[in-house]
């Protein structure tokens, strides 16, 4: 029933247009920094909006949501890592880097879900927004720990002299990576805007309405338009990752979506809309915050694996199929 309505939302249609533009080899190019500008805007607008709502919300529920966001953020990459190691298709380093992407979240997917709910006139709580902010970082940390473990195992098998000259061991210092995980640009924009939204005068927020509400969906269309082109560029590399990993790119979001839906409905007892957003958080894979962190800290992993999976497979899957699927599953859970 709802599976087609998701495809007829302008934002999703623009995503499809981006894919098509790439497939037919259109000469369409976006200005270099547009995606960056738009993602800052989108996070700022959703942060202000959500922060304002949260200012009126219940603290205990918010703390509970944060706790479960941490649980999801720390456990999803471990599930992903184990699943990947079982397939034996990738090295432990690749498995660590890929699973970090799946534990973290995609704001683009989350916003598309909001567009979907708005379009279906389903209301939702604002708590999943804090969860979005909280879930960016833990998976990066788990990914780095898994990579450090894998690196140690490899070093034990193949002892090579470790150089202590450059940066005291392999990769970059762990403390600076932790710092990076928590001060990541999108986390700062999102949490900062939420705080501003929560403590500002309601009349001030009212003045910002054209900026945070009226043009929001248009900006999301533009963002998804470009991301559609980026995703399509990755789909071409489908051959490189092979069928087993491609299946992982679809199965992992479904597992995450189910876990997220269960947490949203059973534990947090959100409405259908709110629980769908939690499911989307569980299902989505990062393609903004995690790739640079992994490129810097886990240079041994092959970027075309994790980028193709998160951006080329999981993101389009979630946008086109996943969101209505999780919505349907949450309705089923609530109904029984």
């Amino acid at each position: 029933m709802s599976s087609f309505s998701n495809l007829l939302i302008p934002a999703v249609l623009f995503f499809a247009l981006g894919v098509i533009a790439r497939v037919i080899k259109s000469d369409l190019r976006f200005p270099p920094d547009l995606a960056k500008v738009l993602s800052i805007y989108l996070l700022m607008a959703i942060g202000l909006h959500g922060g304002y709502e949260l200012g009126k919300a219940d603290l205990a529920t918010a703390m509970n949501a944060i706790f479960w966001a941490l649980v999801l953020g720390f456990s999803m990459p471990i599930i992903g890592y184990l699943a990947l190691v079982v397939t034996r298709k990738v090295s432990p380093m690749d498995a660590a880097a890929i699973s970090a992407h799946y534990g973290s979240v995609s704001a683009g997917t989350f916003l598309t879900a909001i567009a979907f709910l708005d379009n279906s006139q389903v209301t939702y709580e604002s708590y999943p927004l804090i969860m979005l902010a909280v879930m960016e970082s833990p998976a990066i940390i788990v990914g780095l720990l898994l990579a450090a473990m894998a690196r140690k195992q490899l070093a034990a098998k193949d002892p090579r002299p470790v150089d202590l000259d450059d940066d005291g061991g392999s990769g970059t210092k762990f403390s600076s990576l932790l710092h990076e995980a928590f001060t990541n640009g999108s986390v700062v924009v999102l949490i900062g805007s939420m705080v501003i939204g929560a403590i500002s005068q309601p009349s001030g927020i009212e003045k910002l309405k054209p900026f945070i509400d009226d043009i929001f969906m248009g900006a999301l269309c533009l963002f998804l338009f470009e991301m559609g082109m980026e995703a399509a560029r990755r789909i071409r590399e489908f051959k490189k990752v092979g069928p087993v990993l491609a299946i992982f790119g679809v199965a992992m979001p479904i597992i995450g979506g189910i876990v997220g839906a269960l947490v949203g409905v059973m534990v947090l007892e959100f409405s259908v809309g709110g629980a769908t957003l939690v499911a989307v958080l569980g299902a989505s894979a990062s393609y903004i915050a995690v790739p640079p962190a992994m490129r810097l800290a886990v240079p041994e992993a092959n970027p075309s694996f994790y980028l193709t999976l998160s951006l080329g497979i999981t993101f389009p899957f979630n946008v086109l199929v996943g969101i209505p699927l999780y919505y349907w599953f949450v309705q089923y859970l609530v109904g029984t």
Binding site: A35, D166, G171, E226, I288, P292, L296, P299, E300, P303
Partner: protein, 106 residues
């Protein structure tokens, strides 16, 4: 009339995310400064279109006196050994103020 002094220009094509790491390394090697240009291209590690942060490439240019070159290249080689994709090439250049290139920055 200004004189010209032979120096080495090290060009490094690298990921945008490695910028801080390289800068830190130059500082340790007593390099006098560096210049960064955003670049796009395609190669062994795929296309670097530069639309998203994680696939933006930069070209870093460093001018060093010949005696500092080998140590710097050894340091860069160690980064490559760790798995970072760096494209490095060195060319001969002539500078008009050699003292500028022998003073470490900051």
């Amino acid at each position: 009339m200004a004189n010209l002094y032979p120096h080495k220009l090290v060009n490094i094509i690298s990921l945008d995310v490695l910028q801080d790491k390289l800068a830190e390394m130059f500082r340790r090697h007593g390099v006098s400064g560096y210049t960064i240009i955003r670049v796009r291209g395609e190669g062994g590690s795929g296309e670097a279109a530069g639309t998203l942060d994680f696939e933006a490439n930069i070209m870093v240019k460093v001018i060093v006196p010949e005696e500092k070159l080998q140590r710097l290249l050894d340091g860069l080689q160690r980064q490559i050994d760790k798995g970072y994709h760096l494209t490095i090439f060195v060319s001969d250049v002539e500078v008009i103020s050699p003292e500028k290139f022998s003073t470490p920055f900051k």
